[in-house]
């Protein structure tokens, strides 16, 4: 489903990604772990072209997304993204946050979108907040709305960029529960996270990144219980 060949990304002189090759199949839940500055967020952001790769190719459903003349907006509709800082639209109600993109992009008419949005808000347990504004919600609630908002575009792939890092500890659980449920529904997901327990529980595969490379990859059991690389070992020993 996603094929990544020799992906490089530099910001000026700073090389953040130095050659990533990876294949992610339909229905996989891939967690990306690694120390700060290892390039994991940049890697994720390249997958929906929030960052433009300096070199290399990314294919989604066999279509090269970072080629010349591709419709970036069309490609982004296939990939939903959830951000560390939620990035809800503060001037819109919760319902409007969810319906904005489907309506503006004419994927649905207003009634369909509102029906779908109510359904999604029910799924994340926030239907009664539909007419509230983001400022009236807690962090955990905001992030659940952000997930609903991304799902409203009916993406094939969901990207999570440290979805719980900005949350108070007691709110992490409610967000992880929603992500877990989504993972079990068969959605293809890539999750950048510092929640090792969560990564272990929910992922089908784990990538360990450091210094712009994928250093080690494998099943959660392989990575967490029996890491081979020294850097993986030392990272995990600090985390657990």
């Amino acid at each position: 489903m996603i094929q990544i060949n020799n992906l490089h990304k530099s910001f000026g002189d700073l090389a953040v990604l130095r050659g990533i090759d990876e294949h992610i199949s339909q229905g996989e839940v891939v967690s990306v772990i690694g120390p700060s500055g290892s390039g994991k967020s940049t890697f994720l952001r390249c997958l929906n072209l929030l960052e433009n790769p300096t070199e290399g190719e990314i294919y989604i459903d066999g279509e090269m997304i970072n080629g010349k003349g591709v419709n970036v907006n069309k490609i982004r509709q296939k990939t939903g993204m959830v951000f560390q800082h939620f990035n809800l639209f503060p001037h819109l109600t919760i319902l409007k946050n969810v319906t904005l993109a489907p309506v503006v992009l004419k994927k649905m008419n207003k009634e369909q979108a509102e029906k779908g949005a109510t359904e999604l808000l029910k799924k994340v347990g926030l239907e009664e907040k539909a007419s509230s504004y983001p400022a009236q919600l807690s962090g955990g609630q905001k992030q659940r709305v952000a997930i609903a908002r991304a799902l409203a575009m009916e993406p094939e792939i969901m990207l999570f960029d440290e979805p719980t890092s900005a949350l108070d500890p007691e709110m992490v659980g409610e967000v992880l529960d929603v992500i877990k449920e989504l993972a079990m529904s068969g959605m293809t997901m890539v999750i950048v996270t510092h929640e090792m327990g969560f990564a272990k529980e929910v992922s089908t595969r784990v990538l360990f990144m450091d210094g712009g490379y994928i250093i080690e990859k494998g099943t959660p059991a392989e990575i967490f219980d029996n890491p081979q690389n020294d850097r993986t070992k030392s990272f995990l020993s600090k985390m657990l």
Binding site: R76, Q77, G80, F89, H91, T93, A135, A150
Partner: protein
């Protein structure tokens, strides 16, 4: 003794008031002046916003050449007095154009205001967190859709007070249209002063009229701002 002085002062003032405002229908000069000031200001605000938006997007452009247009525009406008600009627009640029005076004046003030409005808009757009743009784009919205649906509505709320301030400055700035022969509030007051040889009453009257117009506008804009802040409730 004291009361006698007061009543004399009052009767003199009443005579002055009569001479300045009632005699020869002089109040009509001021009423017409209010009309001119409002007409010029209103059209200038509209032109100023249109130019301001255009120049703001020039200044925010990724292309260096276009950014330069925005920079030169604001530099030139800010670096020269508005009286000079008004006179250049009126006597040089539009010298051979036979439009109504007030329209040409409004264009001059609009061009002037546009430079300041563009800086306000630019700052407003830059004040919106980059994450908002990223969230919009990640949903598949185009750059234009993200700007118009997400960034600008929020920016408008943030820049509204500064924009109101600019409009108020603009209204007062129009008091120089007398330089190109328009009879606005200021010029009407000045005219009455020359005709009656009384300075106090017409000039204070002029000040009061400006004050009342601006106070009324401030109250109106305050109401609008309040409704813009609806989504801030906690």
């Amino acid at each position: 003794m004291y009361m006698g002085w007061l009543s004399q002062w009052w009767s003199e003032l009443a005579a002055d008031l009569y001479k300045c405002f009632i005699k020869d229908d002089r109040y009509m000069l001021l009423l017409n002046g209010i009309g001119v000031t409002i007409k010029v200001s209103l059209l200038a605000v509209i032109i100023g916003i249109i130019i301001g938006i255009a120049i703001a997007f020039c200044s925010l452009s990724k292309r260096k050449g276009i950014r330069l247009i925005g920079k030169v525009y604001t530099d030139v406008i800010r670096g020269t007095p508005s009286v000079t600009q008004l006179m250049i627009i009126y006597f040089v640029v539009f010298a051979t154009v036979s439009w109504e005076k007030w329209i040409i004046a409004a264009i001059a003030f609009g061009i002037n205001s546009g430079a300041y409005v563009s800086e306000i808009i630019r700052a407003g757009i830059l004040s919106i967190d980059k994450g908002q743009t990223e969230a919009g784009r990640s949903l598949g919205l185009s750059g234009f859709q993200t700007m118009s649906r997400i960034v600008i509505p929020q920016a408008v709320k943030n820049i509204f007070p500064a924009l109101c301030n600019e409009f108020i400055v603009l209204i007062k700035e129009t008091a120089i249209v007398g330089y190109v022969g328009l009879m606005d509030i200021q010029k009407a007051g000045d005219f009455i002063k020359s005709a009656t040889f009384i300075a106090f009453v017409p000039l204070i009257g002029t000040a009061v009229i400006y004050f009342v117009i601006i106070k009324f506008l401030t109250l109106l804009l305050g109401v609008i701002e309040k409704s813009l802040r609806k989504s801030d409730v906690r």
